[in-house]
């Protein structure tokens, strides 16, 4: 009895396996229009309406799962896009910084060339620290005595005159800006050649003052003011000539010596790449 059952079981299994293999062979060998294909197509014709009906009945289930899927996908896509955005932003910032630096270096090269500063030993520098108070008008730069920087050296950027080195360490220096109360720079009107002294404009941090103008009528609003290229007193900086300082925003008063205001050429809030002129001849 047991043997009969085993034999029957094995026979059924063998039959089904052989049948499957025959079907595979026949189906695999048949072309797109063979009899098995026709059977398959007919079966599909019968089944597809049922399948379609079942599909419609189960639409709420699909909608629910799709909704959950969409929520999950949206969440993961949001995180992915946020990461991509952060990466792109970081890249943009880095490229902008490179571009800005290139512009600044180009500007410095231009000013070096136009003012003939190549012989004055220009040393590139970057700002390490900006003023931490409204009352402090100096910045710390990343070059010092090790790079040949000395007390009193003039500092410029691509826009014009920035200030003077007022303190020197081995690898850093402090630059007193030209809008500091202690700063005094000999300057001339680039149009008329009229001489004056540029100082901080008291009570107006965005402007400079042009004082000691002997012939105020020779200075007009809109004139460029540049360094005169000489020292005022012993120990004061020797600025090379023709470095831009600013533009006359209000002409000096008629009284002699007159006093007017200048809009600085340099944006003291964004100094960028600097140059320290380390080999300016001293008087």
């Amino acid at each position: 009895m047991h043997d009969k059952t085993v034999r029957r079981r094995r026979a059924v299994l063998a039959l089904l396996v052989v049948l499957s293999l025959i079907l595979i062979s026949a189906s695999f060998g048949s072309s797109g229009t063979g009899p098995l294909r026709a059977v398959q197509n007919g079966f599909l014709d019968v089944l597809s309406p049922i399948e379609s009906g079942a599909n419609k009945v189960l639409t709420p289930v699909h909608d629910l799962t799709n909704w959950i899927d969409d929520i999950t996908n949206a969440s993961s896509q949001r995180d992915k896009l946020q990461k991509e955005y952060d990466r792109a932003q970081a890249k943009l910032v880095a490229e902008q910084a490179l571009l800005r630096r290139a512009h600044e270096l180009k500007g410095l090269a231009s000013i070096d060339s136009s003012a003939g500063l190549a012989a004055d030993g220009p040393v590139s520098a970057s700002v390490d620290a900006y003023p931490n108070s409204l009352l402090v008008q100096n910045v710390t730069i990343d070059v010092g005595a090790g790079a040949g920087v000395a007390y009193g050296d003039p500092v410029i950027n691509d826009a014009g005159l920035v200030g003077t080195v007022s303190s020197v360490a081995a690898d850093a220096s402090v630059v007193t800006l030209i809008d500091d109360n202690s700063a005094k720079e000999p300057a001339i009107d680039n149009t008329s050649g009229e001489f004056g002294i540029v100082t901080a404009d008291q009570g107006n941090p965005n402007e400079l003052a042009l004082t000691d103008v002997q012939h105020p009528d020779r200075v007009a609003a809109g004139d460029f003011i540049v360094t005169a290229g000489g020292a005022i007193t012993g120990g004061a900086s020797h600025y090379p000539a023709n470095i831009p300082i600013g533009v006359v925003s209000s002409a000096p008063t008629d009284t002699s010596p007159g006093s007017g205001t200048i809009t600085p050429a340099v944006d003291f809030g964004a100094l960028g790449q600097l140059q320290v002129l380390t080999k300016v001849p001293r008087g």
Partner: protein, 189 residues
């Protein structure tokens, strides 16, 4: 209606609904890019409950139905599910496992065999689909998904088939223990 016919009718209904549900609904629900597959779970469950021969025949029919309905190469699923149904039935006949984890293990094994077997046969038939890490990942995800639904699917298959099955001596023993408090009617006072 004889007992065999009754079981056959129930198996036919089960196979039809399972394949229809798979094609119309389950195959459209994707988790990590893969959908669960009811067929190996249902075939394994039915084979486990009804025995090797019934399981093999049921597997063949379900496989053929799937091949016809999804326009695959005829006989591939049939061949695989014959083995799944037969194997599940033989497990029951040889080992009679009763651990709660049995449906899960059975479902995982059936899914792994059906999925890997399908890939191998397609490969042997010259399918140009590349065997890649993505495919392996898909197979693993499908096995995991099927493990998740294996226990409820087995419970449904069992609930559907057991009323039609001939009385199993083990089930009879358990039922008697439940109704008599574990004592044979002869030993009761």
């Amino acid at each position: 209606m004889t007992e065999t016919t009754h079981v056959g009718a129930r198996l036919a209904g089960l196979g039809f609904v399972a394949v229809l549900l798979q094609l119309a609904s389950i195959s459209q629900i994707h988790v990590l890019g893969v959908s669960a597959d009811l067929a190996p779970l249902v075939v394994a469950g039915a084979g486990f409950l009804t025995g090797a021969v019934s399981g093999a025949v049921f597997g063949f029919c379900v496989g053929l139905f799937l091949d016809l309905a999804s326009a695959h190469t005829l006989g591939v699923s049939a061949l695989l599910y014959v083995v799944v149904g037969y194997g599940a039935g033989r497990v029951r006949e040889l080992r009679a496992p009763e651990a709660p984890i049995t449906p899960l293990a059975l479902g995982a094994a059936a899914t792994a065999f059906a999925t890997c077997g399908y890939a191998v046969i397609q490969f042997l038939l010259g399918d140009s689909a590349p065997i890649s890490l993505l495919l392996v990942r898909g197979i693993v995800v499908e096995i995991v998904l099927n493990c998740v639904i294996a226990v409820p699917v087995y419970a449904i298959v069992r609930r559907w088939l057991v009323p039609a099955l001939p009385d199993d001596p083990r089930r009879r023993r358990r039922r008697r223990a439940y109704t008599t408090g574990g004592l044979s009617p002869l030993s009761r006072p």
